[in-house]
Assembly symmetry: C3
Homo-oligomer: 294 residues x 3
């Protein structure tokens, strides 16, 4: 995987680090970065040797949001949107916020994704972390949902993700004020799982990733991750019951047999099922219930 705007490195445990790599622009987001991120996520999700993904930034920023000084990269509309399409008209579905295409893909990943925020993340640099499973911040990092200060609105589905992470009162406060939050404030609100000394950031992220991949069944992690994200908006627990009953039957005949055997024999399990081919039957893991397209 070779990219213009991204770097990728994966270790022998399957824990990879994806680096947003436009350090001279504080890793500001562009149309090119969107395309490369989508391609990366698709590839990594299909590769069973990848067990967990850490996302960080090169240099002193995490991601400075859309590159507002980058017309040459992004075309007429600085946010990459088609100004000739009528939101009232028949082509309205063609209007797709770039950040949303990335967060919707992250939402249905089969691997844990951890944001390791090394510096400032604002705009899409803040919202892209919301469908990740954990956010670890350097004590030098900050985060800002600054949309109201530049006359636009919160994007990348952040109105759905943010209150589920930090609660309604914080979500309204952060996005109506548009203010930048310190790492400590972000931890206190529930945004950051951890704040660590700057130089320990990647080690902390890797230690967390290791907790998700060592001794766990990759398909179990994938199913749990997907059940939690998909049920976050479900009307009634019966929807979880329908999904988990079928997944449990399937898993109980696969890695579950090994899990039970290793438990009885007091030895470490050796799980064999692969996310690429062995996700439970009976559920379409690429769509959300009730099978709405994304």
């Amino acid at each position: 995987m070779e990219y213009e705007t991204l770097l990728w490195e994966v270790d022998e445990d399957g824990i990879g680090v994806l680096t947003l790599n436009r350090p001279d622009r504080l890793n500001a987001f562009t149309v090119k970065m969107t395309e490369e991120l989508l391609e990366f996520l698709e590839t990594a999700d299909a590769d069973d040797s990848v067990r967990a993904i850490i996302v960080t930034g090169a240099g002193r920023g995490f991601c400075a949001g859309m590159d507002l000084e980058g017309d040459e990269v992004q075309g007429d509309n600085v946010f990459g949107l088609p100004e000739d399409v009528d939101p009232y008209g028949p082509d309205a579905e063609k209007i797709r916020d770039l950040g949303g295409t990335v967060t919707l893909r992250l939402y249905r990943m089969k691997k844990p994704v951890i944001a390791a925020m090394n510096g400032v993340g604002v705009g899409i640099g803040a919202t892209m972390t919301l469908p990740m499973d954990a956010r670890i911040m350097s004590d030098k990092a900050k985060v800002g949902f600054v949309f109201s200060k530049i006359g636009i609105c919160m994007e990348a589905c952040s109105s759905w993700f943010l209150p589920r992470l930090i609660g309604m009162q914080n979500a309204l406060d952060w996005t109506m004020s548009g203010e930048i939050q310190s790492a400590e404030a972000a931890k206190s609100a529930g945004f950051a799982a951890e704040v660590v000394p700057h130089e320990e950031l990647l080690d902390a992220a890797k230690a967390r990733a290791r907790r998700y991949v060592k001794g766990t069944a990759a398909v179990s992690v994938a199913v749990n991750r997907n059940l939690i994200w998909r049920m976050a908006g479900a009307r009634h627990p019966i929807e979880a019951h329908r999904a988990d009953s079928r997944a449990m039957l399937d898993l109980s005949m696969g890695d579950g047999k090994e899990g039970v055997a290793s438990f009885r024999e007091k030895r470490a399990p050796e799980f064999a099922a692969k996310p690429s081919s062995d996700m439970p039957r009976g559920l379409d893991w690429d769509l959300a219930p009730p099978f709405m397209e994304d």
Copy 2:
């Protein structure tokens, strides 16, 4: 705006204070107050000179709930409900809890609304604050969802709002016990954003309101506020994507151009769009997705 049960005063920044004004009754709620609140909210929402609304109480209470000793004001049913309508029958939709008409209107306001609780708020005096964006409590204030103690049930859609603010475990505890909560307990549960010395209450509320209106685009704040409230019950982030993509395109061609220009030119922005006329096209801001009537 002249009311029997309310006072209204707005400053040059567009920050207004609405005072529930029946101090001899601890501002207890009546049918008249419901009507006046609905009229007030409609008027203030349509008035672009109003940027934020603070709600407080006159005298020593915030709002003592329905006026249980006020038959003369409220008719036969002390809660203002039509006892001759059959909840099984064809007219069931005519049964509308008074508090709910107010909270549903608050839910879709285009301006930040802040509760400045100066004293006790119980019953509708507690539930009416839930669809506001922040609650600031005087250290003398208390709050109580006391319904189970008087043989009725939680109202004003509070079963929807309360757990989204304070979590399931607290919401169940507060409403099954019917107990009054101190300001500190309310802060610890996530109900109050701040608890301040009694004499600093209005200043604290105004300082918070100023954070939402100074340097921000009024339409951006309105869109963010509405997206967050509407997506709190949405099934899938794709619903946010559909809404924010269209809103973003619209805003990127309006206040967003000024926002980007001011950012590039390192100057303060001058936003021109008005909530009364310039809300993004393609979304019906008066209805919730999927366009359910309220």
Copy 3:
């Protein structure tokens, strides 16, 4: 009520203690225990002399999850699932995770249910507590959503319940890692309402139960409990408005009259309505909106 796997004792206030009673197996879950739990919940819910239910474990464990060494009790599939049913096929609805049948029943109880965790609860021993209204943990108790460590997936609708209790970030962490959590970690995440010294556990649970039943109307508590659980997944507050308007009208003509009268006369109320027969008309309390079967 006589059971093989359960003990039940109720005091004069209607506060009962249900003890999972397989202490030599750390109260591990079996098909028999599922059947007895469902029968117990049905019976207790229909018995107006029962006002609140405390669930605890006999001996040193709370519940060690499915009895993984109990083939003789559970048949071919250690999780009690029908291996001959195709999750793709027409009989897929017959696949019902055992834990889910219990948690779905708990979800619609008319009485407060409190988990008093005396020791380790893992697997279904953890997930069965989620639709209870509060969790009190002994300082010796632990909790673990260990599914990923034995090759299966989270069950008992826990993907729906868990993030609503402890937030997305904690829920993903606990279930991807499969790690056991201490009582203190469980309190800090919002899982436990209280952690108490081991010998004070049942007293603390009873004190909490008493707060829910003393001076409260049983039907009010039942309605509030059900409204909160059912609205946790509702799209829009209008759904709460439809439900609470009708319930409020009904209650205002029953226990509400006594509540208002006792308030005016400054005396203790004597509520007469019974959950078994007097739940508000116009709502089907055995089904969830929009009347989805469970």
